[in-house]
Symmetry: C2
Subunit: 133 residues, 2 copies
DNA sequence: GCTTGACCTTCCCATGATGGGAAGGTTTAG
DNA sequence: CTAAACCTTCCCATCATGGGAAGGTCAAGC
């Protein structure tokens, strides 16, 4: 399977497949005589794994660890669980951050007329330069 | 006020102050005879504005728009409100995304023993390569 | 057989926000 | 007078993604 077909089959585009190989996330692809990359079912499987993990917000570094565990049939599930839990913690922290931002902005927006008048608590607050709301 | 003092006074570090000037977010700084940048109260005010807006998650492009409105004493608050509301929508969408990820991962983590055994629904799911949970 | 278009290759560059660090000039405190 | 602390510009790196150039290869249709 050439790279275009592998991209279609895995959902990871060709550019990214090459990139993942370049950064060592994937091993060097098999090559045909004409130097075209050649992929098999196993490769497609790994690519789908990567795609799914990216969609769940795992970083490339985390995926590298997960892939290593996945390739190791004897891995302890403890390690996988640890990585996943750490990632959940990370996601939750970011969610809390963004919710705090949205809430603060929500307060400001509610206090802003939103008409032709120039008075605007949003700008006033930003100009204060402090985060106390 | 030299750039170091401006950084301390505004909370934006010197490197970023130069960067904001380079990308046109701030006008060219006044210069002393020795070519050192020189800042006044107004500049500090703008820098704090930027810092606060960044903290609320506004992109540089959004801040550029907000700064323009802030500098325009006759701006209609409507426009400011619109930008803030769009940003809130953006934040909420990202929060929803991340919560969905965290939930999916939470399900998988709950089903994973997390011990010495290799069986792991987390990896199994990733390997499926489809997002159906 | 030849052309055309769809592939493939590598290489360089860009994004956005931030920062590290080099090489060189200036100021300030001891 | 010297050393440290500043300042300047310039280049490079990050992370994940992608655009695009220049050139090679292949398959289908005429």
């Amino acid at each position: 399977m050439k790279i275009g077909a592998a991209a279609a089959a895995s959902g990871v585009n060709a550019k990214m497949i090459r990139h993942y190989e370049a950064i060592g996330l994937l091993g060097p692809a098999a090559r045909r005589e004409n130097a075209y990359r050649d992929y098999g079912e196993r490769d497609i499987h790994e690519l789908r794994f990567i795609r799914r993990a990216r969609r769940l917000g795992f970083s490339i570094a985390e995926i590298e660890a997960l892939l290593a565990l996945w390739r190791d049939r004897a891995r302890p599930s403890r390690e996988v669980k640890r990585i996943a839990e750490a990632h959940i913690g990370d996601l939750e922290a970011r969610v809390a951050d963004m919710q705090a931002m949205a809430k603060t902005l929500g307060n400001l927006v509610a206090a802003c007329h939103g008409d032709d008048r120039p008075d605007c608590p949003i700008l006033d607050d930003l100009a204060l330069g402090e985060a106390w709301v």
